[in-house]
Symmetry: C2
Subunit: 176 residues, 2 copies
């Protein structure tokens, strides 16, 4: 799970450092994915459900409740899948559907009590661990980390959009 690099490992210390950070980031992403999956499974959900729940909470906390359509864009799901997803979450008591009074075609998604509790339960212990690590860094060091992660995050998002813009190639079979 480490050290694949693109074999870009150079001999100078800086090159090595870059390879290590690359591996750190990859490991972190993979583990984050596993954490989400494991937590979701633990509560009878799947990864998508958890993502959706977080998206709904984020939107609502930002004072701008999300609609099924926008949720589908964010999670990259088809409209049919989104409906099924919302059905699941609503049936489980995590979220609630509300018709938009202004445009009655739209549905506004709000989290219900159980959803809020679950999200809290997800983030709270994670936050504790996070805080414990952060405590070992000075303000200046955290500032560097923030600058780094913010730039990485932006770069990665660009990359994602570039890939999504590309056309999926026709399914290939066997030896092609």
């Amino acid at each position: 799970m480490a050290g694949h690099g693109t074999d870009r490992r150079r001999d100078d210390p800086r090159g090595r450092m870059i390879s290590e950070i690359t591996d750190d980031l990859r490991r972190y992403s993979v583990d984050a994915q596993h954490v989400g999956h494991a937590f979701a499974a633990l509560h009878g959900l799947n990864a998508t459900d958890l993502h959706a729940l977080i998206a709904v909470m984020d939107a609502e906390l930002a004072g701008d409740p999300i609609t099924p359509g926008r949720l589908g864009e964010q999670l990259n799901l088809s409209s049919g899948s989104v409906t099924a997803l919302i059905d699941r979450l609503e049936r489980a008591g995590h979220i609630r559907r509300d018709r938009d009074t202004a445009d009655r075609r739209k549905i506004l998604l709000h989290y219900a009590d159980r959803g809020a509790a679950l999200a809290m339960e997800f983030f709270q212990p994670l936050g504790s661990r996070t805080d414990r690590v952060m405590a070992r860094f000075t303000d200046e060091e955290l500032a560097v980390v923030h600058r780094f992660m913010a730039e990485m995050s932006a770069s990665l998002r660009e990359h994602r959009d570039a890939i999504r813009a590309a056309r999926p190639e026709p399914p290939r079979r066997a030896v092609d």
Copy 2:
């Protein structure tokens, strides 16, 4: 997609910084997931297939080819799913099965040409972007980032294991 926090945002600058980094990390993980998913879809794979491919490459580059069993542990898949997974990847020409000559129950997984090419295609542009960001940081700054990410990564892995150790609760329905 930002600012859910656990509402732990304190008023002091350091507290704010911590919240921001938390958000950075979360955004990064989510986007990394999307990048993987999008890239996989672009090449007619699914997310699991891509993870498996990377795991196979990692193991082989480390000089210790992975077996279906260990792959299943790493991806948290059942044995049946692993067999199906390997079938898919082999059929698509990404990997190859080899019986272990010492213990003939075991299968050793090696990547085939197409698999190597695909992994390269995945990591190369990602590496370019990564390098471009890293170029804007000094050696000392990168050292801080590395220390931070390594600790975060370890902490997250512990968290994952803790969750996995917990018993899945019985599936709940409707209002319970």
